[in-house]
Amino acid sequence: MTDTYLHLVNSGFTKKLAKQLGLPRPTPLRRHRAGEPLVAGPVLVIGLGGQDGASTPQPDADALAQLLAGPVGTDGVRGTLDTAGWDLDVHRHVATTETVQAVVLVLSDVEHPDDLAAPVAALAPVLRRLTPGGRVVTISRAATADDAPAVAAARQGVDGLLRSLAKELRGGATANGIVLAEGVDVLAPSALGTLRFILSTRSAFVDGQLLEIGSDAGTFPADWDAPLSGRVAVVTGAARGIGAAIARTLARDGATVVVVDVPAAGEALAAVANEVRGTALQLDITADDAGQRLLEHALTRHGRLDVVVHNAGITRDKLLANMGRDRWDAVLAVNIAAQLRINEALLTSGDFTDHPRIVSLASTSGIAGNRGQTNYAASKGGVIGMVRATAPLLAAFGGTANAVAPGFIETEMTARMPAVTRQLARRLNSLQQGGLPEDVAEAVAFLASPSAGGVVGQVLRVCGQNLVGA
């Protein structure tokens, strides 16, 4: 599972060689470590006026800059986060010699494509001075058919700008966008929650993505390091790989975790349960009563159920011409039909109503398609449709349903790919490497968190901006 190439181009003689040969040189990504600062260096907030735009009204940029720079809660290190600042080293202008850790481009006020020029001009010279693992974040508004054409053009323009910019960045730096629906405040819980996620190392393998904030819903956690404290989560397919990583990450964020997998995977499942100090439930999720049994276990053992992560999935790859009904049925049964049935059971139970969260694992295959995976892609496309249609059903309870679509992730599954195919697949994204199971887990944990209450029916890709399915 180790990426030898990634190691070689970053050490010793082979590093020089790779440089001379002009080979792709991916940078090892920094992942979240407990206790590390949100952003380790200077943060540049650029508004509509660009570098020298103090005269241009830019209320969103000003408000955001003030919050980011503001002191952490008055009643100690962590206070009521509604009012507390983030205590970052915020700049509105930087000298041409200074390095920058993150740039936040506040473009929510643009009304014409011409408005993009000044902020982009301010951004351009900073890009070369972005520290390794730096972050560029755009904040814009969703373009809709109701907008004036120039406004829509400006807003949609941000989309193209962001995606291209992400492909330009090197050194493990990423660019991602926050897209506010009409009327959503730039300081809305989910806007800020998403901003924190993107700025942090938790989003290491998320690149070139635009996440829409649908509403002002969501709340700030009492502790950003334990946003899931007091919450009970179920993770299916948790015995190994991405599912085990999700269980660990949710537990790290304070959740009590019920790990679920098929009885045959029970040995590994027990090890995960004991590691995260949760409980193991050996259950075939395709059973008719799987939803009831999940719920009953969570309620009787832990008193509640707040988060369900539909991670369990299987592949039975074959060209459709040769596939046969059994391969199709097996994949659809596990990857989508079981999720639908479990969600139905949860929604009708009356016990999944306290700001519930459903996070379902989709796949870039479900977005872009993949030869030999008609069954898998149909099921994963199905997941995307399911979360979009399920989210409104949960809205009344402050709940959400979203999907996470992993790209190439270093798992036992991808380790079984042919070596050359695997090497190519790893490089086919802007970060030129495979992601880790914990990268997917971080995205899931973010969507499960209270501050993501305004993110509804979205698909968050964790793919390093894979060339496939953009």
């Binding site: 009885p263 045959a264 499942l269 027990a270 004991n274 075939d284 008193g303």
Partner: protein, 445 residues
Amino acid sequence: MPAARREPTTPTGTPTRRAAVIGGNRIPFAKVGGPYRDSSNLDMLTAALDGLVARFGLQGERIGEVAAGAVLKHSRDFNLTREAVLASALSPETPAYDLQQACATGLEAVVGLSNKIRLGQLDSAIAGGVDSASDAPVAVSDGLRRALLTFSRARSARDKLAALAGIRPADLAPSAPTTAEPRTGLSMGEHQALTTAQWGITREAQDEIALLSHQRLATAYDAGFFDDLVTPYRGLVRDQNLRADTSASKLAALRPVFGTHLPTPATMTAGNSTPLSDGASTVLLGSEEWAHAHALPVLAYVVDAEVAAVDFVLGRDGLLMAPAFAVPRLLARHGLTFDDLDFLEIHEAFASTVLTTLAAWEDEAFGRERLGLDGAFGTVDRTRLNVNGSSLAAGHPFAATGGRLVATTAKLLATRTADTGRPARALISVCAAGGLGVTAILETA
């Protein structure tokens, strides 16, 4: 020993509180030389404990006491259970002790710990058992052992040489463990062959028991009954001995292996006798208060137990016939008959063990002369007997069988009560080497 029928009395003068069976966990039982051939008793017991911890969220929990044991045990495993606790995810402050009562080890562990819970000495406990026929201890001969010990005590080179000179070639042969009774030299199978002949049990009747055992265990697995009782280990997901596809004709084709030198027809085969097995099981017990405080379910309660022993050396009774005496005494103490039992679990050491026990209970003379009753003790409704299969199909790692039986029975009872809304009751009976028998009653509500 007669006078099984007594006025019902409460087993303890002042009953304190009830001991609940909360749940269980075992690893699938494997055949000797199978996937667990490189696993020690410590490995398997630790795995069974860790699976239990995972199922019930007991990580770091200080359990009142853990009691478990193994029948085939290396001398280095003198503190096997405590070592397994230390290797597990339980709190290292969990005390533990080893016990051993041959095949009844696991059930006796449940009984002893339940009594401590009932007395208020413990709030929670884990009973268990493990055995490895694959990793059985092989000892050196007595002659070699004495010589080596003398050598180690010797001070001078001369004494050391003298000690080694005392070793005879015959001393070098290792002595492997056997299932032979020390007092008779007969293996357990040969003993049971005598009992089988004594009670005139037919080959067909034995094969029928074996077939049912496989069929019922397979059905229970398919229905997901063991999803919360078994955690796979070393790639084994179901009991290795289980043959869902076995048939009467396949069983009938097997050659007899025990009783072949008796004047009566030999009827006991590898199919209707339990195989040597590897495996481990655990049962979580607790007071009701402890269970509720930990948001854990109560499947059933351990109500009472009775042990018995028979004089198989000089007396009339077969080696494995002690439960035939223990059960009537136990039921009499509670004023119960077979009709009052929803389930009976009679350990299938051999198919004929079950059948000779049932035959004794149905026998007028046995009832009058041996049990001191007016006639036969009673007839067991076979539809209530070993309903999810037993040791013939699952295998029988000696000390692990008691835990398998208790957890399975407790779940059966809980399910029955959930279905009917009425209390349910079960009897568990385990025979053991040395002419021993341990029996217990479990109830819901």
